[in-house]
């Protein structure tokens, strides 16, 4: 059963001890992400170097375990990557969460494939995606974003978390 595999030890561990949690001095990119349907919110702060490398990244906020673990693993994975590489991962993660990318396909997600189970839980897809969504906004200097915004480039219209 798919929900059994969703709460795997990696996810529980990142929820318990989130990596890169906190604020970031001299961040030059940041965004706030909201899921108005469940009240989850998180903020992401980035230090992007002149040659567009994510030198440091942190997150903070209140959310469910899936969202928090997703944010923690995301920050750990995109740190040191270029903006372009991060954008590729954002797209791949989103595709995986909505069932358009299989863990066996070619991708750059590594262990992030533990989140594949959300594709069978439409109400939880947005929990996993919110951090990625917010990262995309930060990298593109959009300061606030919402999983429900009309003009949202990553809008996913399946399910809701209310």
């Amino acid at each position: 059963m798919i929900t059994k595999s969703l709460y795997q030890e990696v996810i529980l561990d990142h929820n318990r001890n989130p990596r890169n949690y906190g604020s970031l001095d001299n961040a030059n990119r940041s965004a706030e992400g909201h899921n108005p349907l469940c009240g989850d919110h998180l903020s992401i702060k980035i230090n992007l170097s002149e040659n567009l490398i994510i030198d440091s990244i942190t997150f903070q906020g209140e959310s469910c375990a899936i969202c928090k673990a997703s944010a923690s693993m995301m920050t750990a994975n995109v740190k040191g990557k270029t903006q372009a590489d991060a954008e590729t991962m954002i797209k791949e993660f989103r595709d995986m969460a909505v069932g358009q990318l299989e863990p066996d396909d070619d991708h750059h997600l590594g262990r992030l494939t533990v989140f594949v189970g959300v594709r069978d839980l439409p109400t939880r897809v947005k929990c996993a995606i919110l951090p990625w969504h917010t990262l995309h906004a930060a990298l593109n200097s959009i300061t606030t974003t919402s999983t429900e915004a009309d003009d949202d480039p990553m809008h996913i219209s399946i399910g809701n978390a209310s």
Partner: protein, 419 residues
């Protein structure tokens, strides 16, 4: 991890045979990935007994045609059955006359009807409406729309930390501009039963009519609109073992008569020319177009079913469920019950320290347990308790004590996962 022994549990068999009741509901036998379904999302929508499904099937098989229109057999049968349902609903809430029962698509539709037909005619700039913190969004938003359009002010009755309305504050909100009170009989988020009879009496002493949102009350207790003396009362079929797409608005005939129509169309008129249209009398004035006939007849069958068990028996049994569940959950460390009103229905809203409601919902689902997690369309209540969301188990008379044990064990499992 077994629930503790409790004297509250034994009351199960003394009142009625819950196993027999359960056999009336086919869906309760369902397994979700090998786990027996435990359905605790009754406040969102209840399940349907087979007699109601059979009634709708019989209607579609042998009685269906449009109503109020033709002289042929089927149309007359359908019209008669539809009107019989109205009569059953009239008896169910002890209204004075059948024509005081308007079929709507549900509670939301009924409140919008009142906001439009009463509100837009009798409430205007400078006037005030009193609502409460406990309202479902459907008894907030229609009034906000009116407020924005007509410059009406909304005033809100606060609650205490048990989740009970502060009646002294309620009384202070009245002034010469007060034109309507909208109050939920029972809170869907935390189960509080509001003292509406007292509130209605006070409002009437100030010449103010009262709309009661009964969506969460009608499934759990006997409603007598004449005794309550409310001006409007509304509830939905799908929370009362009936189908979706149907509900009623009860309104006192003199109120309904002086209101303007809501939707325009067929059936709500007596004659139409391009120069002048004459509106039909109540209830037809408010039932434009072809209604969901099968749903209305199914609703009537659900009312028969509930009446055959008797609402006071249902109420007593459900109280034994909530007492047992409350006692059991209080034995688990790290749980906070949200809403502890002295008078409440069988709704248990709670939070678990360190675990987000969404994770609780997903993990309980893994055990076959259906609960609701979120803000329950009642964000002002969540704001009062300073939580973004809760987990809500809402019980019905077809739930058993054993199912509550499954829930308690499920919550303990959730805590273990997040240890």
């Amino acid at each position: 991890m077994t629930p503790i022994e409790s004297s509250l549990r034994s009351s199960e068999t003394s009142m009625f045979n819950v196993e027999q009741i359960r056999s009336d509901f086919p869906i309760l036998k369902l397994k979700i990935d090998d786990k027996q379904l435990v359905y605790f999302d009754n406040a969102a929508s209840s399940q349907m007994p087979k007699v109601v499904m059979d009634r709708m099937l019989r209607y579609q098989t042998m009685e269906h045609a449009n109503i109020n229109r033709a002289v042929h057999y089927l149309s007359e049968t359908a019209t008669a059955e539809y009107e019989k349902s109205r009569h059953k609903l009239k008896n169910f809430i002890n209204a004075n006359e059948d024509r005081e029962i308007i079929f709507t698509s549900g509670t939301t539709d009924a409140i919008n009807l009142v906001a439009h037909s009463y509100g837009r005619k009798f409430i205007s700039s400078g006037d005030e409406i009193i609502l409460t913190v406990l309202e479902h969004h459907s008894n907030i938003v229609p009034w906000q729309m009116l407020a924005k359009e007509n410059g009406v002010k909304i005033r809100v009755v606060p609650i205490n930390d048990a989740g009970e309305l502060l009646i002294d504050e309620y009384k202070k909100l009245f002034n010469k501009n007060t034109k309507l009170v909208g109050v939920t009989h029972v809170s869907n988020a935390i189960g509080t039963i509001n003292p509406i009879k007292k509130m209605i009496k006070f409002a009437h002493a100030h010449g103010v009519p009262v709309l009661v949102d009964g969506a969460q009350a009608a499934p759990h207790m006997k409603i007598d609109v004449q005794e309550l003396n409310c001006d409007f009362y509304t509830f939905s079929g799908h929370k009362l073992c009936g189908p979706t797409g149907i509900g009623i608005l009860y309104g006192k005939a003199n109120q309904l008569n002086r209101m303007k129509p809501f939707k325009g169309g067929g059936d709500m008129i007596t004659s139409v020319t391009f120069e002048k249209t004459i509106y039909n009398t109540i209830p037809h004035k408010f039932e434009a177009g072809t209604p969901p006939i099968a749903a209305a007849i199914g609703f009537g069958a659900a009312i028969d079913y509930l009446s055959s068990i008797d609402l006071s028996t249902i109420e007593a049994y459900e109280q034994s469920l909530i007492n047992y569940a409350t006692e059991q959950i209080n034995n688990i460390p790290g749980i906070r019950i949200i809403g502890s009103a002295a008078e409440k229905v069988a709704v248990l809203s709670f939070s678990v320290d360190g675990v987000h409601p969404h994770d609780i919902g997903t993990l309980l689902n893994q055990e076959g347990i259906a609960v609701r997690t979120g803000h329950h369309c009642a964000q002002p209540v969540m704001q009062h308790f300073k939580v973004p969301a809760t987990t809500r188990a809402s019980f019905s008379f077809y739930n058993s004590m054993a199912e509550i044990d499954t829930l308690i064990t499920g919550i303990q499992k959730v805590q273990k996962v997040f240890l």
